[in-house]
Amino acid sequence: MTFIAPIKFAIDLLAVLLLALGIKGLSKVRSAREANRLAAIAMMLAAFGVLLNSQGTIGISINSWIWIICGTLIGGLLGALTAKRVPMTAMPEIVALFNGCGGMSSLLVALGVALFPSSESSDGIVGELIRNFSIVVSLFVGAITFSGSIVAMAKLQGWLSTPSWTQSKARHFFNIFCAVLASIGGIYLLIDGKNGLFLILIASSLLGVGVTLPIGGADMPVVISLLNSYSGVAAAAAGFVVGSQLLIVAGAMVGAAGLILTQVMCDGMNRSLVSVLFGGALGASSASSGGGGGEYTNITSCSPEECALSLEAAERVVIVPGYGLAVAQAQHTLREVTRVLENADIEVTYAIHPVAGRMPGHMNVLLAEADVPYEQLKEMDIINPEFPATDVVLVLGANDVVNPQAKTDQSSPLYGMPVLDVQEARTVFVVKRGMSAGYSGIKNDLFDLPNTSMVFGDAKKVLGDLLLELKELGVGSKG
């Protein structure tokens, strides 16, 4: 059976190549879908390689096959079902959930090897040390990834709020305490390969919770991306544990690429990674310092009917979709409204802030789901100079990304964040559920401007009313 080793080797090489091409391709719009398939094929190849190699060398017992098939069927089916069922608006949570499970998997592998060490390996004292060290890393990172991801998911779903103690200095002590405990457990495990196992598990799980819990919803995508990078590190560590180079390469690639992606996302949100991780929720810090506060003095509210009249008279309309639109799942109703406007020869474009929706790029996905042509979505830098020539801007459930304070008020916590200059347009309608503040908890100066009118209500309901009003006015019904 000497020819199996080279075949396995070739399969591994091919799989690594395809995975690298997959990650690369996923960062370009044109090649993204093929790249995703390529990566999926690479994973199948890799699994096939492991099975072939084992069957050829040591043989796989019937018992093992049964457990392999059980795990594959249950995990695979649940994954497929979840992926098909989940609504597009819940995408951030679901990525967090999947990610946590990846971390859990690495953790379990390390746990299994630590509890039942195989007698065959004899790499000497150094080899033993490296192996134990990989087990420690795999347990530590795997547990943080799992507990952190689950907390992230629960917070995004609204199952968990931000407890007030997590906003105080106490959380730093808590986290440092957990980290120290985990390190002690790690040292024990390094020395004798068994003690300290559960100390690491518990302490690092708590650390994952302690680090993720204080982070506000707006910053959560960055955290998920970072945790994604961690799960790559956990996979690489698991690769050391079981002695698979393919696993090490793939884990290292995902870990490093995830780190870059996290940085790219931070840049898009004008936040530094350090302030996301250690700064706590944006809202809490600004509320305590009182910066950017103040009362509204000049709010104009209007009905959907008045809004429809202005839209009818407009030539150029820009839609600014935001988080509220995603939450209300109003993207399809919005598309119907814009269809009516387009039929009336009104030019409609969408201004997409880099962090619109619930995570970067999420809004593009939601609008694409509602059949909005790709060309109508304009990025911030392109649309901003066009606002002065715009008749009506419709802000749907966005708040901080249209706050002029970010450009005018140096004392504002938002100062310096790139925003959409909607106030330059002739008329601005802001559809909002109430006067509550956005993520940041900061007053929005836009609402006080004379050319801004508020339309209160759930985005979906307001858009539905708007659609009826427009139809009553006979807009877009000529053809």
Partner: protein, 97 residues
């Protein structure tokens, strides 16, 4: 020792490759890319497979391995399918244009 010294080289080169793979990403693709990379991190399914195969008749180890494999495949299959669902919406627009 030879495996570990080789493995450390692999780790180093793999990390460097990962750093270079992604340069500029259009914001549109942040979500799909994250979800795709996430699916790939489920590659620990290989470790789970190896664990099961090597565990022989050790029942607790078989169970741990199987659960681990289940978690990994949930990550992998769910991740790739959900990424494909997102990306399908972009490409559909293109073909119609």
């Amino acid at each position: 020792m030879s495996f570990f010294s080789e493995a450390l080289w692999v780790l180093l080169l793999g990390s460097l490759l990962g750093l270079e793979l992604i340069g500029k990403v259009p914001p549109t693709l942040h979500t799909p890319l994250m979800s795709g990379a996430n699916a790939i991190s489920g590659i620990t399914m290989l470790a789970a497979l190896t664990l099961i195969i090597k565990s022989g008749d050790n029942l607790p180890l078989l169970i741990i391995g199987s659960i681990s494999l289940g978690f990994a495949l949930f990550n992998v299959i769910g991740g790739f399918l959900v990424t494909d669902r997102m990306l399908a919406m972009f490409s559909r627009k293109k073909t119609r244009k």
